[in-house]
Amino acid sequence: MTVPAVTPLDLAAIRADFPLLAQEVNGHPLAYLDSAATSQKPQQVIDAEVEFLTHTNAAVHRGAHTLAAESTDAFEDAREAVAAFVGAGEGELVWTSGATAGINLVAYAIGNATLGRGGEAARRFALRPDDEIVVTESEHHANLIPWQELAARTGARLRHIPVLDDGRLDMDAAAELIGDRTRIVAFPHVSNVLGIINPIDDLMALARSADAITVMDACQSVPHLSIGLPATGVDFAVFSGHKMLGPYGIGGLYGKRELLNALPPFLTGGSMITTVTLDEAQYLPSPQRFEAGTQPVSQAVGLAAAARYLQELGMDAVHAHEVELERRMRDGLREIPGIRLLGDTDAAPRVGLAAFAVDGVHAHDVGQFLDSRGVAVRVGHHCAQPLHRRFGLTASVRASASVYTTPDEVDRFLDATGGVRAFFGAS
């Protein structure tokens, strides 16, 4: 993969923005390599939220008083900032509580259309028995179980694109699978276990030729790549704030405006309606239609600060930095005897993470050992049991980088990993 020439990140300056990273763990400086699970938050994000809560805070879209108006402006300005970050236009960015909620929103709204909700406009979403929903074998559970459940509720069939031995999607199989019966194609932009950036143009071409609705899980790409969601052509995409230096409890659902306005609501309640009688309600257009109840207002403000922070670093620089760390991790891991990397291919572009198994030592024990050296990694199935099963594993170890990760931290991780098998007496 060619990396564009960019100004490299100023790591010392960046690290000074992340108070948590300065601490010691078990007598060692913390090396936080679990950013794919959740990222740390820069002071700028924390400050933005605290500033809002201590000076502005009031209910949005609901009051005429000064604080309410200021809060509404802050909330909608935040939407604009985050929308701009992913290239979304007006009415195309819906706040959700996170990526999981975003995918459930789309799946349930399609389910509601199938049950006749949303009238004429929503008919295009209705599923019939034997319609097919296609996912991949590399899915995070968040982009798998909602579709299993939708299939179970509607009689649609769930199918999956297999993963090759080297971790890439089997695109030949995809071409066979996606066809006349395919109504929905859901896929991850980047796998949270393999770190491989999937060939979404090819997937989109297949989905388009089948006239299928496309849903992209952009959880692991939005924080790490320069990405314009409309340019990808996907109908819907989701991401989470807490993985992109932002707060918990907030995320984004991008959707083509025309589709969002045709989709029936999912959650219902206050602030998403025009007229309500005791018997029925009329719904506002997107994004309000999907934002029932009090929204995560301070979190939106915090997420906007995170988007601005990333934008100022420059997403090309962020990507270049993380790709370099990934290279260093994978090269180092290949040198250590008894390590089996998942998706160890150079035939696909990647983000900054590596997952692996250690021969004769369970992932949990590896993680505990690394932790004793101050190195924080994730162990387990990373919410991707089918993918682990594909590789004959129940668990793996994953190290993942973010903007604040240093080459030195990677080296300490490699060094510690090199000592694992000796400690546990694995032969």
Partner: protein, 147 residues
């Protein structure tokens, strides 16, 4: 922003004695739009009648209930728009929207907007912009039905 700059005499007058209140009969040359502010439930039903050739606005009538800003805005719109060419009306609506959304940076020209220019101050009260826009959005939709 002072309260008095928002609630100018002119605005309170219009809101109390609104012009064009009471819907005229609908016919082949009218378009009608119902608009509602979801936050407070304010509503306006506005009917616009165009000339035989469709190029000129003949009259605007409306009914509704709401705050003084929304009522005054509808009343002022009636004065301004009666007898205006269709294209000009579209321009006026666009300009009005732009000024109202400007957060106080664009003033409406009194020579162009007549009484409605008094609504410039609303743009500094972002929670009230929807109130002032209600009738104008209704006019836009109503006109679209008469093409």
């Amino acid at each position: 922003m002072s309260l008095e700059s928002l609630y100018q005499e002119l605005i309170l007058d219009h809101s109390k004695r609104p012009h064009g209140f009471g819907l005229a009969e609908a016919d082949d040359h009218t378009g009608t739009s119902y608009q509602r502010n979801p936050i407070c439930g304010d509503e306006v039903t506005l009917r616009v009648r165009v000339s035989e050739d469709g190029q000129t606005i003949r009259d605007v009538t409306w009914e509704g209930q709401g705050c003084s800003i929304s009522q005054a805005s509808a009343s002022m719109l009636v004065d301004l728009i009666d007898g205006v060419p269709r294209e000009k009306a579209a321009e006026l609506i666009d300009g009005f929207r732009e000024a109202l959304r400007s957060r106080g940076t664009i003033e409406l020209d009194e020579d162009v907007y007549e009484d409605a220019a008094a609504l410039s101050g609303v743009s500094k009260f972002s929670a009230r912009v929807k109130c002032a826009m209600l009738a104008w959005v209704a006019l836009e939709e109503g006109l679209a039905q008469t093409s």
